[in-house]
Symmetry: C2
Subunit: 360 residues, 2 copies
Amino acid sequence: MARVYNFSAGPAVLPEPVLEQAASEMLDWHGTGMSVMEMSHRGKSFVSIAEQAEAALRELLAVPDNYKVLFLQGGATAQFAAVPLNLLGDASSVDYLNSGSWSKKAIAEAKNYTSVNVVAEGGNTDPMTIPPQAEWALDPNAAYLHYCANETITGVELHEPPQVGDVPLVSDMSSTFLSRPIDVSRYGVIYAGAQKNFGPAGLTVVIVRDDLLDRASHQTPSVWHNQRQAEADSMLNTPATYSWYIAGLVFQWLQAEGGLSAMGERNQRKAARLYAAIDASDFYRNPVAPEVRSLMNVPFVLADDQLDGQFLDEAAKAGLHTLKGHRSVGGMRASIYNAMPEAGVDALIDFMADFERRHG
Amino acid sequence: MARVYNFSAGPAVLPEPVLEQAASEMLDWHGTGMSVMEMSHRGKSFVSIAEQAEAALRELLAVPDNYKVLFLQGGATAQFAAVPLNLLGDASSVDYLNSGSWSKKAIAEAKNYTSVNVVAEGGNTDPMTIPPQAEWALDPNAAYLHYCANETITGVELHEPPQVGDVPLVSDMSSTFLSRPIDVSRYGVIYAGAQKNFGPAGLTVVIVRDDLLDRASHQTPSVWHNQRQAEADSMLNTPATYSWYIAGLVFQWLQAEGGLSAMGERNQRKAARLYAAIDASDFYRNPVAPEVRSLMNVPFVLADDQLDGQFLDEAAKAGLHTLKGHRSVGGMRASIYNAMPEAGVDALIDFMADFERRHG
């Protein structure tokens, strides 16, 4: 078996030790005679798996005690509806930063439930930028400010959370979650789909501050009702048990690798080397202003897009897979999440240099 | 490794060959060098997995061409909200049969969106019954009639779909789906969580007739919007890819076992033997009228409930697990889904007889 370097933007590469452990205990978890996939979510085996996963996640992120951690279904796109349903309360409007494709989707969905004030537009210039916060049209009466921490498609990332005073800050962190330490206390709600940095698609972690649990609309579907799910330990209905278990194995792997500080340093090194290689070349180009470049998703275009197909074919033959850019932007994109080893990034850089030598 | 007989009501036992195949290709699916869990849902490998799963499901159930098959997230509880949101249209009321706990939850959730007419109440007598349809207060102007085909908790099952004329029939089939042939053309919408008969928790199949796709409320969350998901081949957002893959393996296993006719006969035999053993004894009792007894979930009580703990302990020692009844009803419950072999049911019957000899 030859594992490849998989640069998919999500679902994405997972740590090999996690997959090995999952395979080895697929038919019999810890002598129970059953797969985790077959366990009642109410039984003590699965409850211990669930509790240990939450404890590990809380430890990794240093989640304060006044936050609930929920393991839900539906992905970030589900939260695009669940966020306004849970948080609008008595307010009449919500603030959104538009920094790219995922922001736009979140805004469109929120408009089904309330009036949306777009505080600023980014990601639409060349090079792509996000306007400085001094230029944002923030509403002090907004129910919350929502932003997408990292636009997976264009590779545009806001590296520091906005300053919003008393307005709750809500962040879609799907593609940066657990890639470095963050200060959870700066946020009202953080949510992230698992399929970038911590597990299989179909699991969504929601971290919500206690004081924001009491304002859900009565039309909030039960499965996304943060307060009711918090009271039920995320088991108001049957959760995505196997995905929760895999996420727990990824959390253990992160702890064994030194936690989020070590992971953040590794991710900084990986991104710095790849951007440096791109910037040093006239053959490749990244269209994002350096101060908002993503550490996770590195899009780049070839000077001659006629070579795109050949680049992808030869890369695949060299064991470098899923490098095609999103259909909405074209070109290439290398997603270099936690589980992408530094050797994978180095192999990509070497291949890019070789390809340029032969075709540049 | 000793596999046990797992009578969990869900998540539940899966076919051993499915788990073996999943384990063997966990790190490398068909020479791609990656796990199915790591694959982009847009790539040709996963698209082929998804398409083959849908084709197998359509073949097993003989789904007519004018029905869409969706692979969504959220479980049946999500559909409790999604059904009225998708189907209410211009109508002002919906019909629900109340046959037990899951019906009640569906009714409570629907009330968040519209007026609910409960056509009849069942499952609340001793023995438990469902009133005959002649006594139901059906509304010919209802947007739909919803019923739960099988109440997993009490083991009360409606064996034939109701006659509803032109009113679309909507069925929560979570715990009977794929356990026998059905006539899909009788239904407007069928939905089922995977974790009983066909896969990991976190996947929900929705089968919807084409003419019902055009009436969704604008407040329907995108991830549950049947029309938009149908247009996107269930990939409006990232689907639960790994669960979809496991479901596809289960569908292949069902085909190899002879399809739903063979499965239905096997399930009939299993249930008939277990109910016969219970009815032949004064020590055990099933509290459901024979004409509405579930083929999938067989609850039973011991004449002396002081023996419940001992029964469960000794059963576990004999390799018979997760037999405890739902916390809301007590006693025992044996769930005997497709993947429970006939030998497992025979082992349970033998154990019950032995326990009665020693304690009766």
